[in-house]
Amino acid sequence: MDKREVEEIYYLMSLGRKFEYAAKEHYMSGEISGFLHLDIGQEAVSVGAMRAFEHGDVFTTYREHILAIAKGIEPKAVMAELFGKRSGVSQGRGGSMHLFEPALHFYGGDAIVGGHLPNAVGCAYARKFQKAQDGVMALFGDGATNGGAFFESLNIASAWKLPLLFLCENNRYAIGTEITRVAPFLEQSKKAEPYMPTIEVDGNDVIAVYEAVKEARSYIQKGHGPIFVEAFTYRWEGHSMSDAARYRSPEEVDIWKSKDPLKRVRKLLTQQYEMSEDEVDELDKKAQAVVDNAVEFATESEEPGVDELFDNIFVERVENVQG
């Protein structure tokens, strides 16, 4: 892999983590509200996957700030959304869980666990129908693999040989429930085996994720049908800001923190790509500046007006009775 790409990956991961810590800070101080799901610890999956799938359509969940940014949405548009401002990517209507940017083929932000998977399948149908070059990627957690929507999607994508890349971010927990307590095994790719090829990858190794997704992408682009990639990782923070995470031990968290995906790329850059620590620090600084700028932008932006309440429910507006 060439150096510029690894640098870019490191930068995005660093940006992502700093973005998440800033979001956390501004949640605590009250500018951000609602449910806020942080991706800290899982940056390698988010960034690796997006960099390897630049052009295709991406459908994902509520834990999607870093995905959105890595897919090209401006950090300030994401931060402003978290602040509920009109300059946010969803004009303050969606918040943290609902970031959409069709122009960048990003349909993040579904907050019904597994609910976006049938939508991804439908979009993959459209892409096949249109003989488009790029396929579709759907990201989801280990917890989504127990719901009907997931299974229906495996079956349909496979029966119809759709260009769909299933990417499971297995962080072992669905809120407080460890996956092995509600499924017969840890590896959810087993569930896909009857339907399609599967790839398991270390989700804390961004290069491995990147390579796996690249490989999977080329598989779906060749028209072979869907493929399943499972990345094993861990979230450092609670499920959302309201979770004290008492269901897991501090030791467990520490073990995973010692596998910090960000440190790993830093090491790669300094050892294999001959960058100095200072040069890498520069990337961090650049990331921090972007985040600071995003916060400033979000802070200063305007809220939507109450007179806009009924905007964008329908294309064709018809007067309704209330009021």
Binding site: S90, G94, H98, I112, F129, E152, N312
Partner: protein, 330 residues
């Protein structure tokens, strides 16, 4: 050629056929819509004409049928999803309500979903509790989707075609007993899909109804008019969300008296919204209590006698309106 007699299901077929031939992004999907021709034959012949890529037989997975349609629309197609019968649509309520109705709003208008979801509903003939329900009250209460429920053959053609080319998600509710209804389609007509239709004019009683019940009301009217010696105006709602309150209002300002007839269960039935509107906005215009005639609050039984006892019929409509008229000095 501008007026042709056909069956209700043929009118729907025609609307879909024309839409598919004029826009290659229009696709239909559902259980047995292709090779089998649709369980009520609405999509008959279409797979031969447009191929399996555009007339898509799906597995029995209603959540995916609607969910896939939403995804297809995101991907640039104009899908028409068919759910075989309303009861199975419950499996797709998450996709209809949490996704189809909300993506546009949550994305600040960046996502446009030209999706039509069609399904038949209602009490047909002894299909029992799991195949006889109506869900217009639930779906009409969801901001973000339109709900049409069409009774006339002419309107069936026009409204469906118009719905297919609308950029908003539309639920198109049919009634199982309407498919073989005959009527004349006037191809030259221009129709506003968000308007109710005055099926019969009259001056003393406004009867508001929709879908199959409109036909039952029409059957009941002669007896009512004769017994009460009053004339009835019959409104076919046609659009359940939005509701065309203007048309209702004009009629009530003339008559002062309203009867609302629906097949669905009484408690929480769709008609309660109409009644509620009248009690709020036209209270001083009303000369008599509103009468709602609806299905009983019971799951639908298999036995035919009980089944008929559980829903309004032309006879029960005539009886109840007459009684109500008499006890309110009409």
């Amino acid at each position: 050629m501008s007026k042709v007699e056909m069956l209700y299901r043929e009118a729907l077929n025609r609307a879909i056929d024309e839409a598919m031939s004029s826009d290659s992004n229009v696709v239909i999907l559902g259980e047995d819509v292709g090779l089998y021709g649709g369980s009520y034959r609405v999509s008959e012949g279409l797979v031969a004409k447009y191929g399996e890529d555009r007339v898509i037989d799906t597995p029995i997975a209603e959540l995916s049928i609607v969910g896939n349609a939403v995804g297809m629309a995101i991907g640039g197609l104009r899908p028409i999803a068919e759910i075989m019968t309303a009861n199975f649509a419950l499996l797709a309520f998450d996709q209809i309500i949490n996704h189809m109705a909300k993506y546009r709003y949550m994305s600040a208008g960046k996502i446009t979903l030209p999706v039509v979801v069609r399904f038949p509903q209602g009490v047909s003939r002894q299909l029992a509790a799991q195949h006889s329900e109506s869900y217009e009250q639930m779906l009409s209460a969801v901001p973000g989707v339109r709900v049409l429920a069409v009774s006339s053959v002419n309107y069936a053609y026009h409204a469906l075609k118009r719905a297919i080319f609308s950029d908003d998600p539309i639920i198109f509710i049919e009634h199982e007993l309407l498919y073989n209804k005959k009527g004349i389609v006037d191809f030259d007509e221009e129709i506003d899909i968000f308007k109710a239709n005055i099926v019969k004019e009259g001056s003393d009683i406004t009867i508001v109804s929709y879908l199959k019940m409109v036909d039952d009301v029409i059957k009941a009217v002669p007896e009512i008019e004769q017994k009460l010696n009053k004339s009835c105006e019959v409104i076919d709602l046609q659009t359940l969300n939005p509701i065309d309150f203007e048309t209702i209002k004009k009629s009530v300002e003339k008559t002062g008296r309203v009867v609302i007839v629906e097949e669905d269960h009484y408690t929480g039935g769709y008609g309660s919204q109409i009644a509620s509107f009248l009690a709020e906005k036209l209270f001083y215009t009303l000369d008599a209590p509103i009468l709602r005639i609806a299905g009983e609050d019971t799951p639908i039984p298999y036995n035919r006698k009980l089944e008929l006892a559980s829903i309004p019929t032309p006879e029960s409509i005539a009886n109840r309106v007459t009684q109500w008229g008499e006890s309110n000095g009409l």
